[in-house]
């Protein structure tokens, strides 16, 4: 069923007053002179040129979908989503590169490798050899970067081995591709935190990639197919009374907000009400007086927090930072240094590498000057960028919180 207001994002373009707030606050516009800026791509060009499929703004490709335009727009225009719709339109009549095909479909690759004996080991080896011999570069990837290594055991397999205590309160964890295949310890920490709060964690084998990497590379139909699959499952869990919780802020933004913006379906809006960012959910538990405060966090370390843009767009403030600082009592400072520049798979593209690193300069500088022992960030690709640029130690806030609970602190 279509929503009452059809084509929400497109309608929002008519709210544009051309105030240039999005241009002034766009990190890509600041870093790259070739980019005309968000206003000229989505709200201006897209709105005026819907009739002709071949008529797209020629600097559209620079948009990273980081959402700083949406965050700073005073008039509620879904600027970045308009850009993504325009990009999808472009790819209806233009072929994708092999590189984009690969970056968009990380989930398929991760699944294939898992089904081959030693597949992940050889893939990791292959990526480092590929990097050394410039193969990544030849494929149009940023050769200076390490590609994210596959974990020896994916989260969904690790989960099966976790012995949970069963509780009547349950949540369904949406790991997302990166936590599942590359950073499963984040998922394990999430289970610990939930268990410490007498909540049982369920997983759902039928969840698929949220679609974020598909949207930004212009595979909009595939993203919509994924959206329908996930929305069906979220609604199923909704009917059981179990919320769906994600630790990846790009996944949660997609499930909560971008599905409805991109595809204008009422059931996406309904399903979104059952999806939570992990710390948003913990904050609600705290408000209800249900959150365990049995903390014994070590206080000898200094942390720096980096807020992912995709969290800042969610209108929930910075719940992880606030909780770690005010409740757990960890010494943590908010870097407040804008976008890291990675923006999902954007920074992995060879021709976007320099832009990506330039965008992150302020954050990198702050990290280096901070003297912090570790950088805390909810987003997996932000963490990769931070490690690449600064070699800092990084973690997801849920890992800090898990460690702060006495019962896990002893281990």
């Amino acid at each position: 069923m279509k929503m009452e207001i059809e084509e929400r994002a497109r309608d929002s373009a008519d709210n544009c007053l051309a105030c240039t707030s999005c241009i002034a606050n766009c990190p890509i516009t600041e870093a790259e002179r070739k980019y005309k800026g968000p206003k000229f791509v989505g709200p201006a060009h897209n709105r005026m040129h819907f009739s002709d499929a071949n008529d797209v703004e020629n600097t559209l490709d620079f948009c990273s979908n980081c959402k700083n335009c949406d965050i700073t727009c005073p008039s509620g225009v879904s600027v970045s989503t308009l850009n993504m719709l325009e990009r999808a339109k472009y790819y209806r009549t233009h072929p994708h590169s092999q590189r984009d095909q690969m970056l968009a479909h990380g989930e398929d690759m991760a699944k294939k490798l898992d089904s081959i004996p030693l597949g992940k080991t050889f893939a990791n080896l292959g990526m480092s050899i590929g990097k050394a011999f410039g193969v990544l570069d030849m494929m149009g990837l940023a050769g200076k970067r390490d590609m994210p290594a596959y974990a020896p055991k994916y989260f969904m397999d690790m989960f099966k081995e976790i012995k949970q205590t069963s509780y009547p309160d349950k949540v369904v964890f949406f790991p997302g591709c990166y936590i599942n295949a590359n950073d499963p310890e984040v998922g394990v920490a999430f289970v610990k935190v939930m268990q410490a709060n007498h909540i049982e964690v369920l997983v759902d084998e039928n969840f698929v990639c949220c679609g974020s990497p598909l949207v930004v590379t212009g595979y909009l139909d595939e993203a919509e197919a994924n959206a329908h699959k996930n929305v069906d499952r979220i609604k199923y869990w909704q009917s059981k009374g179990y919320p769906v919780v994600a630790c990846c802020t790009s996944c949660s933004l997609m499930l909560k907000q971008e599905y409805a913006e991109l595809f204008s379906q009422q059931d996406m809006v309904d399903a979104a009400k059952n999806v939570y960012d992990a710390f948003e959910y913990l904050e609600i538990l705290e408000e209800q007086g249900k959150l365990s405060h049995d903390f014994a966090g070590k206080k000898d370390k200094k942390y720096l927090y980096h807020a992912p843009c995709h969290l800042r767009a969610q209108a929930i403030g910075l719940p992880a930072y606030k909780m770690l600082k005010d409740m757990v009592g960890i010494e943590i400072e908010n870097a407040d240094a804008g976008c890291c520049g990675m923006s999902g798979n954007y920074g992995f593209k060879k021709e976007k590498y320099e832009i990506s690193m330039k965008v992150g300069e302020e954050l990198f500088k702050k990290i280096k000057e901070s003297g912090a022992n570790e950088v805390v960030c909810d987003c997996g690709t932000c963490r990769m960028q931070i490690v690449h640029a600064t070699h800092a130690k990084v973690c997801h806030p849920i890992q800090l919180l898990a460690k702060a609970y006495k019962r896990f602190n002893k281990q």
């Binding site: 105030c19 707030s21 002179r33 070739k34 209108a315 403030g317």
Partner: protein, 413 residues
């Protein structure tokens, strides 16, 4: 989760000032922000009162303040609070590295991007148009390929304002930025931020410098603070005056940047991209503001609330039909002459104020909303900036002045 002392709703000039003053009083402040305000459209100066009721330029803001009609926000704010707010802002900007100058006694004049001059009260050091009055020669600097700034137009217009007895010359600065999108003042300001760009600019402009000369440049003197301006004045050895500019306005963005920096230092919690649309009220006391994003709402509890969501332009006040003007967060009574025939004065640049522009929340002298009988509606909710009724900031040039002084007074309450 945790109750604040003050929740400020809105992050335009009024909202940021209200949050800042509250934080300086050691209050625990939460700022609910939706968008980046009107700073990219804002010339970054503080007009207190530019033009009187008849549209004539005001020589002394203090004198103009004494004669405003009873409905005007300044009447409620009161002259002592305006004086305190001005002093606060001058001290604050000095401390934060973007010092403003000016006083309520005498108007400052600034140069616009089309070569006219306009009166204002407080200006950053880089925009002191008054310095042009005594100059023997004005050097008008344009920038090659800069969009929306035509130095020849400025050269044609400015003598009408500054007098034809002065010498006027033009010079075109080359940023050597080629390719890519149209050049904006923000792009050139970023170039001036770099050491290479700055030195390049100085080496080009140096030949034009000399005693008795004043440079007028578009708003390109860096993206943050006052540093590029002071360095350039020192390097050239004569005064430099920035004009206002087309959006994105670097002068407005510098002010926003300074205010956000200060809030960061004070540890103010800023919640971004969040729209407030309701409140929890018990009798005459507001307990919480209801705000959220696309999916769900949250209650933000506090002892007091400052409403700085703006007027029609910013969506703080809406009107579906005549007679249905609505303040969106608290449903406060909106005072407006909501009659179709009188609503709009069709002549855009006429000598009369616009009725719609004066629509807003009626308050008492403490800036709390009152009903038609004059009774306070909510005792712990203060209304500031463009949410207030009874003035047409565009006509009289008082926008940031009302914002500054009402926000200051509300936060000090």
């Amino acid at each position: 989760m945790s109750k604040s002392d003050v929740v400020v709703i809105g992050s335009g000039f009024a909202g940021l000032i209200a949050a800042l003053v509250s934080a300086e009083k050691n209050k625990k402040v939460t700022l609910l922000s939706y968008g980046a305000g009107t700073f990219p459209l804002n010339s970054g100066v503080v007009d207190i009162m530019g033009y009187d009721e008849k549209g004539a330029a005001v020589a002394s803001p203090a004198q103009a303040l004494a004669t405003v009609p009873a409905e005007h926000p300044y009447k409620k704010i009161g002259i002592p609070s305006v004086q305190d707010a001005v002093k606060f802002f001058l001290d604050f900007t000095k401390k934060e590295g973007l010092p403003f100058v000016g006083s309520l006694d005498k108007q400052q004049w600034i140069v616009t991007a089309v070569g006219t001059m306009k009166p204002t009260c407080l200006v950053p050091e880089s925009m002191q148009g008054n310095q042009c009055f005594d100059a023997a020669e004005i050097v008008l600097v344009g920038v090659k390929d800069l969009k929306d700034y035509y130095v020849d137009l400025v050269a044609k217009t400015l003598p009408d304002w500054l007098g034809k007895d002065k010498k006027y010359s033009t010079f075109t600065l080359d940023s050597h930025i080629t390719g890519g999108r149209d050049l904006t003042t923000l792009d050139v300001a970023r170039w001036m931020d770099t050491e290479k760009g700055f030195n390049d600019a100085v080496s080009q402009l140096k030949s034009q410098a000399g005693s008795g000369k004043v440079f007028i440049v578009p708003a390109i003197l860096g993206t943050k603070g006052n540093e590029v301006y002071t360095k350039l004045v020192a390097a050239l050895g004569c005064p430099v005056v920035e004009t206002t500019g087309m959006p994105p306005s670097t002068n407005g963005l510098r002010v926003r940047d300074m205010l956000l920096d200060a809030l960061r230092k004070h540890g103010v919690e800023v919640v971004e991209n969040i729209k407030a649309h309701g409140s929890v009220v018990d009798g005459k006391i507001c307990k919480a503001v209801v705000a959220g994003g696309e999916v769900r709402d949250k209650k933000y509890e506090a002892d007091s609330f400052i409403l700085a969501t703006g007027g029609f332009y910013s969506g703080g006040i809406t009107m579906r039909d005549f007679g249905e003007a609505n303040e969106v967060v608290f449903g406060l009574p909106v005072e407006a002459d909501c009659v179709e025939e009188r609503w709009v004065n069709e002549q855009l640049f006429s000598a009369e104020k616009q009725t719609f522009a004066k629509a807003g929340v009626r308050t008492d002298a403490s800036l709390r909303a009152v009903d038609e009988a004059g009774n306070c509606v909510l005792e712990n909710v203060y209304v500031v900036g463009r949410n207030l009724s009874g003035y047409d900031f565009c006509f009289e040039h008082s926008g940031n002045g009302v914002a500054l002084s009402s926000a200051y007074k509300a936060a000090m309450a």
